[in-house]
């Protein structure tokens, strides 16, 4: 059979890790080819006032998926622009119009003097958006798996995500309640819940990540303000001293100001860096805790890798005056596929077609809320 694999058994053992050329996930695309897709997409999206973006997304994904090899076969993106567009329209009609109506009624009630009722209605509308945000996260992942094919087989989920929406609401709320201290728990728990409802072919994913693994990193958020504040005060003090050395009294003010600006920058950059460090750890932990049949996954991007990715994104966008935005999906996909690993064994004989139902429409909900899938 092809590529030297035995007829029904496909061994992916540790030896694949030793040789990176033989990684389970390989990305074979290049940015020049992607530009031939992304730049016409940009043009068409502009001249259609954004409507083409659904078809643009489908084209990009067809390219990215088809240039990604898992073991010995490429992925295929089987989604279409039309179904993404349909998803968007469905969301607009099912949720956008009612939301519009509810906020109209709520304003009218307030204007008539029923403040409590009007406000309650407004809060209700916000709560339903919160709920639908959770449903949307679930359905985006389900949609992507159901449109991803490998050797003709696709993924999916038997759940429609409505129960997950409720979990998302209460777990996120509980996560924030004790000063946000339980957020690592709510994030890991929601990841586990979401992935455990997904499947590829006949087999479900399993995820059992624990918050303990990421909690130490999360505590940096609480420690950081103190460290940054003390560091900032020292910096401001040094700035004032330096200013005094250069220009007496006026120098002190100037030096203090420079120190203060340094403090603010330091604060934001510091918090940003902690967020990146946390997410880097979170992804390593959670992808590492996710399994499918006998396959184990791992994601080996360090904090530094993420910082390089994000800095690269920022520089690319700034120096191309925004055109670089069209290449971010390429960069992110490549980053993801470069660092994603899998090890274990797949029995091709038992990998049969998924029996999950597929929705005929795309990521409408998610599109409307503008979130990422993973």
């Amino acid at each position: 059979m092809a590529a030297g694999f035995s007829r029904d058994t496909n061994l992916l053992d540790g030896s694949h890790h030793a040789d990176s050329a033989d990684s389970a996930f390989t990305f074979e695309g290049n940015w020049q080819d992607f530009a031939r897709i992304a730049l016409p997409n940009l043009l068409l999206t502009i001249v259609t006032l954004g409507i083409y973006r659904f078809w643009a997304t489908a084209r990009e994904r067809r390219y990215l998926w088809s240039r990604t090899r898992f073991v010995d076969e490429h992925l295929e993106w089987a989604g279409t622009g039309m179904e993404l567009f349909a998803g968007f329209v469905i969301v607009l009609v099912l949720f956008g119009v009612p939301y519009f109506g509810v906020s109209f009624v709520s304003q009218a009630l307030i204007a008539r003097g029923y403040e409590a009722l009007g406000s309650a209605l407004g809060v209700g509308a916000l709560l339903s958006i919160f709920y639908l945000g959770g449903v949307a996260r679930f359905r985006a992942l389900r949609y992507r798996l159901s449109r991803t094919r490998w050797r003709g087989i696709r993924g999916g989920s038997d759940s429609k995500g409505f129960a997950f929406g409720l979990s998302y609401m209460w777990k996120t709320a509980v996560g924030w309640l004790p000063l946000g201290l339980l957020l690592p728990w709510s994030m890991t728990s929601l990841w586990n819940e979401r992935w455990s409802k997904m499947s590829f072919g006949p087999f479900a994913f399993r995820s059992d990540g624990e918050a303990g693994g990421v909690f130490a990193r999360f505590l940096l958020f609480y420690l950081a303000p103190f460290v940054l504040f003390v560091g900032g005060v020292i910096m401001a003090g040094m700035g004032m001293l330096a200013g005094y050395g250069i220009g007496g009294e006026n120098g002190v003010a100037l030096g203090g100001l420079v120190g203060l600006i340094g403090l603010v920058l330091f604060f934001y950059l510091g918090l940003g860096l902690i967020a990146v460090a946390f997410y880097a750890k979170f992804y390593r932990e959670m992808v590492g805790a996710t399994r499918w049949r006998d396959l184990r996954f791992s994601f080996e991007a360090s904090t530094l890798d993420w910082v390089k990715l994000l800095l690269g994104d920022a520089l690319l966008v700034v120096f191309t005056l925004g055109i670089g935005l069209a290449f971010l999906s390429y960069r992110h996909w490549k980053f993801f596929m470069t660092h994603l690993e899998a090890s274990g064994e797949i029995l091709l004989d038992e990998l049969t077609q998924s029996r999950t139902r597929t929705a005929g429409h795309g990521e409408g909900l998610l599109d409307a809320f503008d979130m990422g899938a993973i």
Binding site: L43, L49, E76, A111, R112, G113, E115, G152, L351, T352
Partner: protein
């Protein structure tokens, strides 16, 4: 001519992940046969649908079996290539038109749509029947939650003032004016021919002529159909900014903040001056009002012209001048309201025991 031949092919049957590698036999007409040591399939060329391209490969699925994947080398014989469905690049419409032509057509259509969208409020607003506007206004604000002040003397004084700046005869068309129990120096024209002076404005007024000027201005907005235009414009903005603020308005505050164009403000001012001239009301009161506003906002008559140009309202200084210029020197204007009537207006909200407070939260 016998065009039948065979070429290497791989396929997945869509039921399992097993790959079948063998040959594709084409009979030169409509029939295809896939043959491999592991499997065999037979179907019509027309059953195939384009799915994807890869470097050096074309991928097709079958209409009758959407999970089926056939992988063929991209450099297949032209005879077969012509029979197979064409690969799709941008999407059906654009593939048919070509990228350049499609982009040009879309650009023209989009520009037309944008132009229509931007100009619609201006030409659509005045064409919306007044009856509809009244219904929209009633739906938006209703009776204002009992926040309109009423006393017999005050109502009579306001009706007298309104009659002078709004000459409509039949009650159906008449502008409905009221004084809202709200401590702000402001006045609004609301959808549905309703004009509200805020109590704050009434109480700071130094003459009834001042109130006549402001009332005339707001009536001008109603009569020139500016309100519907502004409402449509705000509706359009909220569609554009959908998500940021999807509500039609932010309640009364949204309506109060709803901007008119500078031209609309001028038209409303001109309307007010014309009505005041007809009813022999001195425009100097309104001039004083705008002069005071100019002082307060420190954009005096010789303030920076740039600010006046940027702000949606003509600068208060400019407007004070326009009102002052409209005044005649002789004969002297009679007072528009008696002192008692003016006092009744000013104390109307304080005297009304039933009026609701204007607190939203």
């Amino acid at each position: 001519m016998d065009t039948s031949f065979q070429l290497a092919a791989e396929w997945y049957d869509g039921r399992s992940a097993l790959r079948h590698a063998g040959e594709l036999h084409w009979d030169g007409h409509a029939g295809l046969v896939l043959h491999a040591p592991t499997a065999r399939a037979e179907f019509a060329v027309d059953d195939l649908q384009f799915a994807d391209t890869r470097p050096g490969q074309m991928i097709y699925r079958r209409k009758s079996q959407p999970d089926f994947r056939l992988i063929l080398p991209a450099d297949m014989p032209p005879g077969l290539a012509a029979r197979l469905p064409r690969p799709s690049t941008y999407g059906r419409w654009i593939d048919r038109l070509g990228l350049g032509r499609a982009a040009a057509i879309f650009a023209v259509a989009s520009a037309a749509a944008v132009a229509l969208f931007l100009t619609a409020p201006a030409w659509l607003g005045p064409r919306i029947p007044a009856g509809w506007e009244r219904q929209i206004g009633d739906a938006l604000i209703g009776d204002f939650g009992g926040r309109i002040c009423h006393t017999p003397a005050g109502d009579a004084a306001l009706a007298k003032l309104l009659a002078k700046v709004d000459p409509a005869d039949n009650a159906q068309d008449k502008v409905r004016a009221g004084i809202a129990n709200m401590d702000m120096v402001n006045a609004v024209a609301l959808p549905g021919g309703q004009v509200l002076l805020f109590d704050g404005l009434v109480r700071q007024a130094e003459s009834p002529e001042e109130l006549a000027g402001v009332l005339g201005h707001e009536v001008g907005h109603v009569r020139e159909r500016h309100v519907m235009t502004a409402l449509l414009r705000q509706f359009g903005m909220s569609i554009l900014l959908a998500g940021a603020d999807s509500g039609v308005t932010n309640g009364v505050f949204g309506l109060a903040a709803m901007g008119y164009s500078r031209d609309a403000e001028r038209e409303a001012d001109e309307y007010a001056r014309a009505r005041m001239a007809e009813s022999a009301i001195s425009p100097l009161g309104a001039a004083d009002f705008f002069a005071r506003m100019a002082d307060e906002r420190s954009d005096s008559e010789d303030g920076p012209a740039v600010l006046g140009w940027l702000a949606s309202h003509p600068s208060a200084g400019e407007r004070a001048q326009a009102y002052r210029a409209a005044a005649r020197t002789a004969p002297a204007y009679p007072p528009v309201l008696s002192d008692a009537e003016f006092a009744a207006l000013k104390s109307m909200c304080a005297d009304d025991p039933d009026v609701a407070e204007f607190d939203f939260f």
